[in-house]
Amino acid sequence: MIDVVLAHGNEGATVEAVIDRAGVDEDTFAQHFDSIQDCILDAYWAHTNEFTVLVQAAFDREAVWRDSLRAAAYAAARYMRDNPRIVRFGTLQLFQAGPMAQAARESHLHRMVDLLDRGRQELDDPSSLSRGVAEGIFGSIYELVVRDLQSGRGTRAATDFVPEMMYLAVRPYLGQEAALEELSIPPPPEDRDE
């Protein structure tokens, strides 16, 4: 499914193209999916769940929010670096796939915003900042990923962005000094993502 969408765009993602690529017949397709839209969403959710489990596990391994966020950020960045096709499908292509796909994407992305928004609990007065701050931070990260995809740089440099992203994420909740520290904290070993 992902290969078909990336090769032919959403308009070219027909049942015929998918069964041809997968080497199955139409009856087999119909046993699993009600429509091509159903298949697109199924492909999206399968990879989104994989990504979310990985990122949430990394987040939960640490006791302090800032460390949790950094661990989750590197887990996410490494997944993106290693799975550029899936990232392209889940960002650029899925947004073009209609309202149902857009709604699915938005509900997933807001789970990522939730991880950032937990930073408000670090404040003396959590209500002094709005959830909008976390949305803005997440949007910043998302647009940087999309810009690299659009420019042809792909997701190879995703891990390089993490220190600057952590600066942006930490600063509203923990202040400038903590944010500056993030720019020089080295990445965790890669086997910790497993």
Binding site: E106, L129, G136, F138, E143, Q150, Q176
Partner: protein, 219 residues
């Protein structure tokens, strides 16, 4: 007998009154206004040329005499929205004395436009990302222009030299994503309600929480 000067000659009546280019421009403007509504309500992927010509009550031939196709029509509608929006934002921000005041004025005007014209907001913030590679390139180019407008914030910031190089693009992206979410979720109704959060997203990285709160209270 002396000839009448041109300005005293009678204006010819009928279709020749306006030059063809002017008539085409008027027709294009009218279709773009209709197409904007169709694209916003159906989404770019769900819109066909037939939808547009039906809504505009024109023939397909007339459409193709003015546009190369669906994508061309959409991109022209988008560019029109961006140009007119920029003009209003520039006018709103011009009287401001400082960078942060200019940003506040620009944001107020942007949010007012989103509230007053939700269909145009949907084109500029949401559908532009669903219309293919050319559209995405234009969207990214406009994000870069927003980023350029934010860069002078470093001069007003006490920590300008410490700020990461990607900050402006990241902030522009964050703001647009925030506004896009409001449009997608149908929460873009009150410009006044959104203003504090939007301003916080943009200026807090430069000014810090205290100065940002003061700016919000005065803006």
């Amino acid at each position: 007998m002396a000839a009448l000067p041109d300005y005293l000659k009678p204006v010819p009546a009928g279709r020749d009154k306006l030059p063809r280019e002017v008539r085409e421009e008027h027709q294009r403007d009218r279709i773009l206004a209709v197409a904007t509504e169709v694209f916003a309500k159906r989404g770019y992927p769900g819109t066909t040329v037939d939808h547009i010509v039906g809504a505009a009550k024109i023939g397909v031939g007339s459409f193709y005499s003015l546009f190369e196709g669906k994508e061309d029509c959409f991109l022209r509608a988008y560019e029109r929205i961006v140009e007119e929006g920029e003009e209003r934002i520039r006018a709103a921000a011009a009287p401001a004395e400082s960078w942060s005041q200019r940003v506040a004025a620009a944001l107020r005007e942007t949010l007012a436009m989103i509230e007053a014209e939700p269909l145009r907001a949907r084109i500029a913030l949401v559908e532009i990302q669903t219309a293919g590679e050319n559209a995405l390139s234009r969207y990214e180019a406009n994000l870069e222009r927003v980023a350029d407008a934010l860069r002078p914030g470093r001069e007003q910031s006490s920590i300008g030299s410490e700020l990461p190089g990607t900050l402006e693009f990241a902030t522009a992206g964050g703001l647009v994503w925030f506004l896009q979410q409001r449009v997608i979720l149908g929460e873009a109704g009150s410009a006044a309600d959104l203003f504090p959060e939007a301003l916080e997203i943009v200026v807090e990285p430069y000014l810090g929480s205290a100065e940002t709160a003061e700016l919000i209270s005065k803006a």
